[in-house]
Each structure stands twice: as structure tokens, then as C-alpha cells.
Symmetry: C2
Subunit: 313 residues, 2 copies
């Protein structure tokens, strides 16, 4: 029986591919959508022209639903939103900001709106302002994250207590068993980032993909909490940040150290030392670069195996 | 069908009550064991004489199996171990140390040994030195914790990849749905701390129990990483620690600030401001003080409900 998220988006499996800067262009989004999940173009790393071209390519590559992720801290966001409407994108995931800002505007234009949260306060806010579904993202997730540090295991039941919206669990989910766990916790669907970052169709640099599949436990940390908290691989750049902390660097110094283009340098251009490498803890259990369709198929198979095998007491 | 952990301990349900300083004396351990789980006396806060008396009382209060938890950083540990053998305790959980130190000694005396780990390195070590089962404890757990910050959602599958021992998941688990999630991830059983800290039979001060049921999201943090990382409620003492960090305090200053008896002051004597209040993130979803047997019964019922309802795709 199709669940709330499958019905909302018109998809076969309750698996959403996370919109990730420098990793999720149209190739990845179309591959996931064509395999029965929901593919998402991550617009956070794209100039307006690039985003338009990516959406056009995605429409050519799939007839299935797909979405666009828009981080609300993006400076040129009005242009992005106009392009999304002009290109008739039907599903928008907003993140890193207040859901009140864009939800009505998007809904008035017939767009399904999903907002990413990491705490109960914003989950309640989403319900108030008419968001259609939420992603609740745990501490273990890669990239930008909440300050409360609540993990997926705790966050999903906590959010369910205060918010009745369809709920997509994110953070630490890259396998069928983690998907089964998330649905047991009360989620309607899962959002998968790191596992798809290391897919064939990911637009990440090969160096970064190869790094993802080689990381072990303790390889990442949520840092730069004075700016926007972000989970990074502990490479040379990360250690520069830690040195800055040791000398009690100001927020301005941290901003200067981060500079511009660190994420592109690391994830898209493959500079593993000076670049910013955003990935989740779950990368420690990812060992192979695979086609996105295969990843999705294996997740569904493993999910069915786990659910079929588990017994009541 | 009974799983590996039920068989190993001779218990009905795969639910272990965590050994917690100042919370888990014989009343709680016996209540959990009498309800079909495994009760644990937390010896970390006990003088040798107290531990002996607690074990004696527990044997009078239940004929079911129970265990004793011994943090390996405890100074008077030889006396504790001798008492455990003299009083014929059959199950010992060791934590906060190297499993190589005591496992052989305990095994030679016919005792089942379980060790608590937070990373793959020590999980492998446990298998090498002949430990019978492991607890893998995620970042969200209360009290002392690992430096890798790996969450339960990621830790359980990660440990399963490298260690074939019976596996007990800990961290973020205080409900039947979280228990279902943990078993989907590959755990054989769960260890539950915070939920039992707020039970009628917990030896914690009423002030602390009432605080546990009132915390919301973001109320705890893993701090004091320079000493032994510990998850605490953000009370006045916690803020003193954060002030110390701001003035770049040395490890010696942090030790002096922590001082002696902080945990007793907070959790046992009920000083909510100057005491150390160790609890897990899951406290945000705990809203009522209940008898331990009722907690266990509700967990099993909710687990069965969740497992009965979830469908394959």
C-alpha cells in the first residue's frame, strides 16, 4: 500500500535523494526518479543559468517526478525561485532557513513544498505555514546541520510527537536496514545523501567519491558551529579550522579561513586537502561507487529482507 | 524464537537495563529482571561494601538473572571484582576501558562478560579477547561516551560489519519503536538507560527524575571531551564548563572545576544547578515517571505493534 510520501510525490518507493551541492545535478536526479525514487537537483551550488539548464536536462531525461532543493541562505534566491516556476518544477525542498519565507509563494504557484528541519520548533512552524511535508535531519547527516545535535534515532519520534505532516527521515540512512529502522521510528520515507554522493551519476569529483568509500568511523565531524554548522571529513582544511579554534579565532577569522569556493574546490574539483568535503557519518559503511539505480534497488531489496525477517516477541 | 542475547543471559525479552551511576541499585535491577529483561546494578558509584550489600539485596529480590556493570576506570576495581566473584554474580558488563584487562580473569571464573564500545577498533578487540557480547553505544547516549561521536543509526551496522559477537544497541533507545529500529539495524537486543533512570525504582533523586521528564530537544550536550566525554543536561554547572572553555582553561582547570562528587550531588542529592546531570538525548521524549515493569511491558507492546504493522514494499 502506497504511503503518504509516495502519494504526495507520485513515486513508487519512499526514497528521496538529497539535494547536495556539487553532487546532485540532473544526471543523478533523473537516475533516481527513473528508478522509482524522487530525484532532487541541488541548486545551492548553481548559478541561475546553470539551474535552468539542469532542470531542462532533467525533464528530457525523465518523465517521472523530480524536485529542486533550494537552501534559503542562497543570495540570489529570487532568480532561482522564478526559474523553478518558469520551468514548471512541481516539487521544491527548502532548507537552511525559515519555512515562512517562501512556502505561501510556492504553494500559490501550485508547487509542493517540503522543508528541512532539525528541531521541534521549526517542525511546528512548518505545519503552521502550510508546508506539505518535512525532512527531519539528524546530527549524523553530512553538510549543514542543526545546532541541537539531535540524532536521527531520537529526532524522528520527537518530531512525530509535535508535527502531523508527512515525515522524511534523513541522517545516517544509506541502506535498506537503516530505511527499515527509520520507518519503525515513525518516518514515512527516507532521504539519502552520502550513499548517492558516491554513485556513478553523482557530479562529485572522482577523488571525492573515492574518499567517501575509504572513510572509516570517526572520519567526519560537525564543526564551524559559529558560522553554519557543517559535517566535514577531517582533512587538511578541517585541521586548519581546528588550529584556528585553538588560537581562539574570531567569527571573522573563521569566515576568512573558510573563504569562498572551498566546497567546490573539494567536492567538484577534487582538492582533497584544501577543499571542504561534506559527507555524513554513514560514509564509513559505504565501500563502492555504484549506479544510482542499483543503489536504490539494493536498498529496497534489503528493506524487504529485513522487514520480512524480523519477528514479534 | 529466542535470539542470541536471550539465550546468552537466559532472559525473556532482549531488553537490558543500563548500569547507571546513582540510578541503578538493586531495586531497579530486580524490577527489570523480574519483568523479563536483564537488570544491571551500576557499581560505578558504589564503595565495595555498598556493592556487596546491593548484590545481596538483588539476589533476595529476584531469582532471575541480573548483572553488575563495572566502569574500568574505577580506582578500587580489584575489590569490586572480588566481591562479584564471591557473591556469585553471573554476568558482568565492563565499560570505559580496555576489554583485554579483565575479560580472561572473569571468564576463568565462569562469568559471562559483556563490554561496552563506541567504535570498530574496540569491537574487534572484544572479539579477540573472548568477550561474550558487546554493547555498542551511540553518541546520543547519556553519561560517558566515545570520542568518534558516531550515532546509533550508523554505529550498529558499522560494528556488525567487523564483529560477529551478539550485539546490544544503546543510545537513543527508550521506546518500542526505537527498539524495533535497533533490531532492524542488526542489533540482537537493546540497552535502555535514560528511560529507566526516570522509573519509580531508580535510585536517582526525585528532582533529577522530574528534570528528565521535563527536558526538550537540545537540552543535553556531549562535553568535557578533554577529560572523559560525557553527555550532560545544560544546567548551571554545564555553563560553568562552557565559560571555562571560553577562557581557554587547561585540562587541570577543567578537572578542578569538575572536582569530586558532582555526579552524586546532581543525580543522587538532587542539586540541579551545581550537580552533574548525566542523561541521554532521548530524555526529550520521556514525559512520565513509571514503574520499571510497566516501562518494559510498554516497550514490548509497542515493539510488537510496530513490527506487526510495518509492510514490505
Amino acid at each position: 500500500m502506497a504511503g503518504r510520501i509516495e502519494k504526495l510525490f507520485g513515486i513508487k518507493y519512499p526514497i528521496i535523494q538529497a539535494g547536495m551541492i556539487w553532487c546532485s545535478g540532473w544526471e543523478l536526479a533523473a537516475a533516481v526518479s527513473n528508478s522509482g525514487g524522487l530525484g532532487i537537483i541541488g541548486s545551492g551550488s548553481m548559478y541561475p543559468d546553470v539551474l535552468r539548464e539542469q532542470i531542462k536536462q532533467c525533464k528530457l531525461a525523465t518523465e517521472k517526478p523530480f524536485g529542486v532543493n533550494v537552501p534559503l541562505l542562497y543570495p540570489d534566491i529570487e532568480k532561482h525561485m522564478d526559474i523553478i516556476v518558469e520551468e514548471e518544477v512541481k516539487i521544491v525542498f527548502t532548507s537552511a532557513g525559515n519555512p515562512a519565507t517562501w512556502t505561501s509563494w510556492l504553494k500559490e504557484r501550485g508547487i509542493t513544498v517540503v522543508h528541512v528541519v532539525a528541531n521541534t520548533k521549526f517542525a511546528k512552524k512548518c505545519e503552521e505555514v502550510g508546508v506539505d511535508a518535512i525532512v527531519a535531519e539528524g546530527f549524523e547527516a553530512g553538510g549543514h546541520n542543526g545546532r541541537e545535535e539531535t540524532t536521527t534515532m531520537v529526532l524522528i519520534p520527537m518530531i512525530k510527537e509535535v508535527c502531523g505532516l508527512p515525515l522524511i527521515a534523513a541522517g545516517g540512512i544509506g541502506s535498506g536496514k537503516a530505511m527499515a529502522a527509520a520507518l519503525c521510528l515513525g518516518a514515512d520515507a527516507v532521504q539519502v545523501g552520502s550513499r548517492f554522493a558516491a554513485s556513478v551519476e553523482s557530479s562529485a569529483h572522482e577523488n571525492f567519491k573515492n574518499t567517501i568509500i575509504q572513510t572509516g568511523d570517526g572520519a567526519t565531524e560537525l564543526t564551524l558551529k559559529e558560522l553554519v554548522p557543517v559535517r566535514l571529513i577531517k582533512n587538511a582544511f578541517y585541521h586548519q579550522v581546528q588550529e584556528a579554534y585553538k588560537r581562539d579565532a574570531s567569527v571573522e577569522e573563521l569566515k576568512a579561513l573558510l573563504g569562498h569556493g572551498r566546497a567546490k574546490k573539494g567536492m567538484y574539483l577534487g582538492d582533497l586537502e584544501e577543499g571542504e568535503l561534506e559527507i555524513g557519518q554513514v560514509s564509513a559503511t559505504i565501500h563502492e561507487i555504484k549506479p544510482a539505480g542499483e543503489i536504490l534497488k539494493e536498498m529496497v531489496e534489503e528493506y524487504n529482507y529485513v522487514i520480512g525477517k524480523i519477528e514479534t516477541l
